[in-house]
Symmetry: D2
Subunit: 409 residues, 4 copies
């Protein structure tokens, strides 16, 4: 459906060439300061036409808050936000060829099979413009999470094609452990600890490592020169996540995040913490030992878990990686088959993104914020209600079932 | 929450040492033949103690259908299914040590932080026994999907540690294309086309390639010998999936599958179709050209999309891969920290699974069946309701918006 | 929450003085012809200022369809609809008095307690303008239901104060039965069989009985003259409802309808079929005997059930009645207490509706359409999926469990 | 569906003659003491066979808590509860006659039309046994609400047929107001203030007024003597309800309660506060003026609102009334029509409840507890999250939008 979340409920609407795209957000806490420019910031980062790496269509995308606030303070009622489509003409970049051909690896064919009708412009809701509602709803969630918890969400481009920020250990040993058996390098973990949006935005390709960024740029330009496209990955880190988020059994925090990320157009994979690489590491190296933190709480020495254990956040950084396929729209001739079964050659003109990952950054951040926000409200309901019970029942339990007399717990 | 799905709604219950585990399934179509042994089959595959690769606890796990059927036919009302826990004593494998220590990379610490109380046996709901309800609900869904569509779901172990069924192209070129730029080898794709559960179950490690299986077995035994553990990946293929499944924008089919898989204990990653590897492939090679099929419908020549385009199934095989971390329970001493902040050495005895992937096979299959079933019912509601409208409105639309006069559409 | 329905999911937004009010509708079947005037018709009936019985503020309320259609045909994607608020100034009809006083029986006090903040204009979301989104979403649902099933939904004012369309039997016996033991008069049932919107709209008070309408008008004018207000009831009938709607156990059709109606501002009661009066009737008179219908199906001779048995529609007319309290806003001085605990006299000026029931008519119809639409899609999913099973399982059941060899079943 | 609630999510299962009936409850706060006898108490009140007014089948109904607690303390995980059916034989009280006839005003016909198959015993899920899961889930919720808020929920039989606890004013004036214009008598309001379950259970008919109870008993025995049945109403009052419950726009507290009540088998009406009678009262008498309470908060002088304003609880008692139709099963011959369209005479033997309202008492209380619990958790999430925002944003708002400097607010 077009709704995500149970407690922080985001409903989006809009296609490429209808009048507007946007969202309704239900569940934002009342009493929060917010104005349109708080939302606009991320929408502007999402916009195409920001460099010659992305499609030059300038869509403006000015957001309007329609409801749910007064004098720039949330009322606790649904916040509707809307961006007008500049181009509301149907069928504007299609032609006879596109009428005959379903575009390979696009949504034309599946939309038509599913709905029996489709927007003239193609996949309609599979358009990147659908993500505007997500970004607006995510910016609102992020505003809350930052104010309430100091939560930081930073995503960056970690690879374009085979050009990647180095992630795996290259040295042969770390403290007598065979480094090839560790899921990730110290350098990469350090980057996760420190990377900021400012660093990310310094490069149009949105990779905080200038050298790698330059090579990514060349890889994208090479694809563009060949009228081809290329995929990439986005890594996202969340810092200062409250402990206790995630609703097992089915809404484990990593499951919510995976759902959120894999609902973004063009995604093909998701991994969290040690991810696929972690499957190759022995448990003795993969387990994260506990350490006492300065404030008296427990943390973990390593963080291969990626900040989540048993589906619940443990207070360490959450980090994950999302795979984006190469854009399906390429300006090459493609040998394929018409709706009527006849083989033929499809040739698509126009200017298209040769690589979507730089623009995907705010979308990944926004979906992360939405998922975290939903988990925060679920846990707030539990914590508040449990706090109204007499502590006697738990106090009488054996020690194995309750928190001990440590400041941390 | 403990409910998955909107239309096919599965609610599970149960911890390690409570009286029973199980589920309620709401939404199963009425009039389907089903008996307990249809469910038992997958539960038995899930059981531990099936080989010396897995924990020898024999839990029996006899399922009982409590409601929703009469004379072995579904009534369309909720089907409750239950498995009694054999061992209902609380606190049976914990001891003073475990009372003092949160186990590294277990759910002990996060459950306690989240709920303020935990089951004496540890993570409670993060126990593998929680998956019994999923497997029962999945077996029921699969029964329907097979009868209605001939759907086949087969999962197998594709890697244990670094021992993997070869997946990527090794030859230097395929039809003049640099094979290193293709997401997957022909051999692996052929395996996906043909693999059966019988082949999978022939090896206790549940890998259909006997040679690789033998090396996997050795890898697991090596971990066991060192009182260590090792992770792995499970690949799952779905054949004969109906076209049109998946509910954009947020419930794209890959997003539902990712949510389903990442809610399984110990999972760290999910990729579908070309996955992470596909990010390195140019769009011109990654796009799946359409071909006319014998029955007049359109298929695709390649299937890097993994059977889903624009979030909607296209009728090709769906295949995906799930990463499982090495089990956190190891019989080694671990340097870690107590609840009270004191460092110490935790030593856990007992017999534990050195590797969970063989037992994860029916769980992955079941969660896939549940996700697909939910999508089937959503699309059935749309298709049935749309069929009651006059076709005149669509007929009057320009050709770019509707199905053409081809037998396929 | 601000979302109603599971399959036909309506989310509304908007307060009195924000920029706009409206809704997103998710789940409308694709391929349906619809244009703005189809929606406008009911919105116009909802508008205030249509007679001197209602508040003279003229709010225009022109609806705009923002998404989900192209060339006036639904795409199956979310339909967003919006009405701009003409008056977007906050705080426009409040004053120092209202700042000090929570208005009796208004939402001022409870909104402030719940959210800690409130719209300056008062109850915000408890405003009648919130219902605009409902009416738009209901008009869309009704368009489908009429086209697919010929469903007719007609609501009318059945009472204002003690002035009522006669509903209960007045003669002493009907066919030898003590008429005082029957739930309703033949005349009233006949009205339900035949009443049309045209008849309803002939009178500004929206009562189809001209004589009663005149007395209702007088009752309202009397309230107005005293700067007072008066309540009333709305009766609604649905004709040509498909058999099989309603999802027991919790979403029985009458439960969905009750939820829908009692979510309309100012409602205090709901009764269906024989309602409260039916509790006084012996079972032998209350039971609805079956009769064979001309088309071979079964109907019922009487319809005290109100078209629903066991929570599921049986194909007979559904009819119910909704109670609306007298509007809380009255232009009299009221002895009450300030926020700060001081007693005082609140005097509210301005022009207010002395009676809301005439304007409630399209709101009741719309919420009925939304509830029915949700039930239709739920049943469509079941019917379509069940139809794909082999009929052999049901065929083998004993006769008591299946449909017999009658044309009707 | 068979799930009620969003935050406190109750899923029930079970028919008349399957193995068991019961529920899963998701969302109960962790750390609450509960044991089986806490649940059993209400289940026992629900049991048939408690007096000669109800059906003499003794079903025992011993509840078993399957999960979600350890050492009689809730873990915060799903609580599954189950009651075995004593009689698991299908088809045990049906016969050839029932195979031919759909019983008038029963669910036989609609179940068969909806599902295409039905339980041999009749309506299956429309059976009163389905309510066992509700009562268990409600008892659990009530345990929390009582411990956390001192909430009291008391339901009683307010009428049987035309025998009613006097509810409307009989004197001609109260304080110079025409009493016929007041919604309810002082005596009845006083009963709502004080009535206890002990008083209710003193009479087998569960009416706290002994004289009225005696007449109700006679009315029921009269129905029984004629092999007939009779309906009635149940009034329920909730005391010490926290302020701020209810989620506008659609989940207003009265809408949730209406949904909950109208999902109980055999219900035909719901009214809250002044209800239908309130529609006849002028606004000037119907409005509830505010008064300062001893503890510094605001209350209302009258309570025609029934404790809810703008869909949100205001801290006053919530009271409502539910209409139950006469049971459809009567031991008289009924002229009706067979499935095959032939007219005939249906005669049902056996012992049946001539009146269900006494047994409905714990069901009404339980559904009320479930609805309130859901609203409590929703508001807890909001309150907790909002409390983490800086108060500066609200502080800067004009006085009309925020709480004043009064101890109450």
């Amino acid at each position: 459906m077009s709704t995500f979340g149970t407690f922080y409920r985001v409903s989006t609407f809009g296609e490429s060439h209808c009048k507007a795209v946007g969202c309704i957000v239900d569940g934002i806490p009342p009493g929060m300061a917010v104005e349109e420019q708080d939302i606009q910031r991320q929408l502007t980062r999402r916009r195409p036409g920001q460099s010659n790496l992305t499609t030059p269509r300038d869509e403006k995308d000015k957001v309007e808050i329609l409801s749910g606030t007064e004098r720039n303070v949330t009322l606790g009622t649904p916040v509707a936000m809307m961006v007008r489509n500049q181009d509301q003409r149907p069928h504007d970049y299609t032609d006879d060829t596109l009428d005959n051909f379903p575009r390979p690896s696009h949504a034309d064919y599946t939309y038509l099979q599913k709905y029996g009708v489709k927007a003239s412009s193609g996949g309609g809701r599979s358009s990147a413009r659908e993500t505007i509602g997500r970004v607006a709803a995510g910016a609102l969630a992020e505003k809350f999470l930052k104010e309430a918890y100091g939560l930081e969400i930073v995503a960056f481009v970690s690879s374009v094609g085979q050009v990647a920020v180095p992630q795996y250990p290259s040295t042969s040993s770390i403290n007598d452990v065979d480094a090839s058996e560790l899921p990730m390098s110290q350098e990469f973990l350090e980057l996760l600890n420190t990377v900021t949006r400012e660093q990310v935005d310094k490069e149009d390709v949105r990779c905080p490592d200038a050298n790698v960024a330059e090579r990514m740029r060349q890889r994208i330009m090479a694809a563009k020169a060949k009228n081809d496209s290329i995929g990439g990955t986005v890594t996202c880190v969340l810092r200062h996540v409250p402990i206790g988020l995630g609703e097992p059994a089915f809404d484990k925090l990593e499951a919510l995040l995976a759902h959120a990320m894999m609902s973004i157009p063009a995604t093909k994979g998701f991994e969290i913490g040690s991810g696929f690489r972690g499957t190759q590491v022995p448990g003795s190296l993969h387990n994260d030992p506990f350490v006492a933190k300065a404030d008296g709480t427990l943390g973990t020495k390593t963080n291969w878990s990626g900040g989540i254990q048993g589906g619940i956040s443990n207070g360490e950084h959450i980090y994950f990686r999302v795979a984006f396929k190469p854009p399906a729209t390429i300006s090459q001739e493609q040998q394929t088959t018409q709706y009527d079964g006849k083989e033929g050659v499809l040739s698509t003109r126009g200017r298209h993104d040769p690589c979507v990952v730089p623009r995907a950054i705010p979308i990944v951040e926004s979906m992360a914020a939405i998922a975290i926000m939903d988990a925060v409200l679920a846990q707030d309901a539990r914590a508040k209600s449990a706090s109204q019970l007499s502590p006697a029942a738990v106090a009488a339990l054996p020690r194995s079932m309750k928190k001990h007399n440590h400041p941390s717990v």
